[in-house]
């Protein structure tokens, strides 16, 4: 049903190796043109809209998302309701348990932060239903980048966002970063299974399993090709985005491709500026595509570090609840 756009590294080993003579490596500071300026002071959204090329977006009744019952953003569980407040006595018991058993909160936090908070962040970026108006970020993807409003496209956009987060998770200490990655991907597939059943009316588990397997192999390709693009250059990242996000469509608009590269690089830049502690506590939000990401000045960076230090540095007389303790660095 779905074409797999890229191959997993183990399958594609040796493809076109003769053509590459130069050694490929991750760019170092010396190779970077540090005086690089933004080609134009436009947000990704403005850049995409500035294209003179018009794209025809056909609609297909069959591929529209028109659920009879809509799923909640995360689940029906009261614990995942944004308004839910844990009763005070349960909180106290919890804090005592954490303190006496000396539980590793960084490990435990992976579930609620990566699996629920960050996943919701990725999911809402491109969530859309046929009879509803698009959110500003969804507008960027479906209208400004001219992507079709289908379930598979939603998967592609959400996979892109989970990949962006997983790049930052990789830079956390291995034990914790890997746990965060695992939690977000587990949640992604669980949610897709439920969405296929409830919202896309796929009632046969055999068929939905087949779809999920396909999505899984696509995700491997996505991670591999985006990683390659991230670690090499913009052109490679652009082709990876073309193969996956733009579904390898022939009549693609290069300005829109450029806008997508700008969007991805901007998000990664913001992530690289966050300390492990801030990121692990769920402080990251995707920058809306309508906003311009500019490079931070030295003073701004110093100010951000000072704010983080003020908030997280242990001080005499400053009480930290056992559940809020963390071993992750707030200075990197």
């Amino acid at each position: 049903m779905l074409r797999v756009k890229t191959l997993v590294p183990s399958l594609c080993r040796g493809v076109n190796t003769a053509a590459t003579k130069t050694a490929h490596h991750v760019p170092t500071l010396s190779q970077i043109n540090s005086s690089a300026t933004l080609p134009n002071l436009q947000s990704p959204s403005q850049l995409a809209q500035s294209s003179h090329l018009e794209t025809l977006l056909p609609t297909n009744e069959f591929t529209q998302i028109k659920p009879k019952t809509k799923r909640p953003l995360l689940s029906n569980s009261k614990y995942e309701d944004s308004t839910y407040q844990l009763p005070q006595y349960v909180q106290t018991i919890g804090e005592v348990v954490i303190a006496t058993l000396r539980l590793d909160m960084d490990r435990i936090r992976a579930g609620p932060i990566a699996g629920s908070h960050y996943y919701a962040e990725c999911k809402t970026q491109s969530l859309q239903f046929a009879d509803e108006e698009l959110s500003p970020s969804a507008k960027f993807f479906y209208e400004e980048l001219s992507l079709p409003r289908t379930f598979t496209q939603w998967f592609q956009i959400t996979a892109l966002h989970t990949w962006i987060l997983s790049v930052r998770m990789r830079a956390m200490p291995f034990k914790y970063g890997r746990n965060y990655q695992q939690k977000i991907i587990d949640r992604f597939f669980r949610d897709m299974e439920l969405r296929l059943h409830d919202e896309m009316n796929v009632n046969s588990s055999r068929i939905s399993d087949q779809y999920l397997k396909d999505y899984n192999s696509q995700l491997r390709g996505i991670v591999c090709s985006y990683d390659e693009g991230f670690a090499t250059d913009d052109a490679v990242l652009a082709t990876a985005l073309w193969r996956n996000l733009f579904n390898a469509r022939e009549e693609v608009d290069f300005v829109k491709l450029e806008a997508a590269v700008k969007y991805v690089r901007g998000q990664l830049y913001i992530l690289s500026m966050m300390s492990d502690r801030e990121f692990a506590l769920g402080k990251f939000r995707f920058v809306p595509p309508q906003e311009i990401v500019e490079r931070f000045t030295e003073e701004q960076i110093a100010k951000m570090k000072a704010v983080a230090k003020e908030e997280y540095e242990p001080k005499d007389g400053k009480k930290i609840l056992p559940s809020q303790k963390s071993k992750l660095s707030y200075e990197n």
Binding site: C12, S34, L56, A238, E251, R265, Y269, L271, S272, R295
Partner: protein, 144 residues
Amino acid sequence: MSTPIKEAAKALVKVLESFPRETLTDLSFKETQLDRFRPLAGMTNPIREQKTSIKDIVAKVNPYQIKELEIKAVESSLTDEAIAQQTKALKNLMSNKYRDYYYVTDKLYRPQGNPIYYERLLADIHGESKENLFTGLKTVILGK
């Protein structure tokens, strides 16, 4: 065909020809786009053999196949100005402006949890070093 469009398309084809070729897959952005713009520039596309893989045959008879929407660019909007803008976008991508402006430092390029991750991946993709059974098993068991 009017000349300004032809000239603009020629410039675009020239930029496209210096675009890197994909290493991961046979599906090539460069080839596809060259095929698209060469006729506009008054050049002919090379004749390629049509390869049908077993996957295509299976996809044809699969009843659950999702039909992909055909998204087309409006032909009348493909003016010389639009083509010049497309060329500029490609040039921006080729000059790595976004990578350099949004330089993420070694914090992300040599991630703390797995510092040689990208080097190993790139070396494997470009066939410079191969994983053997032992290193492969180690990655699967330990995760890095």
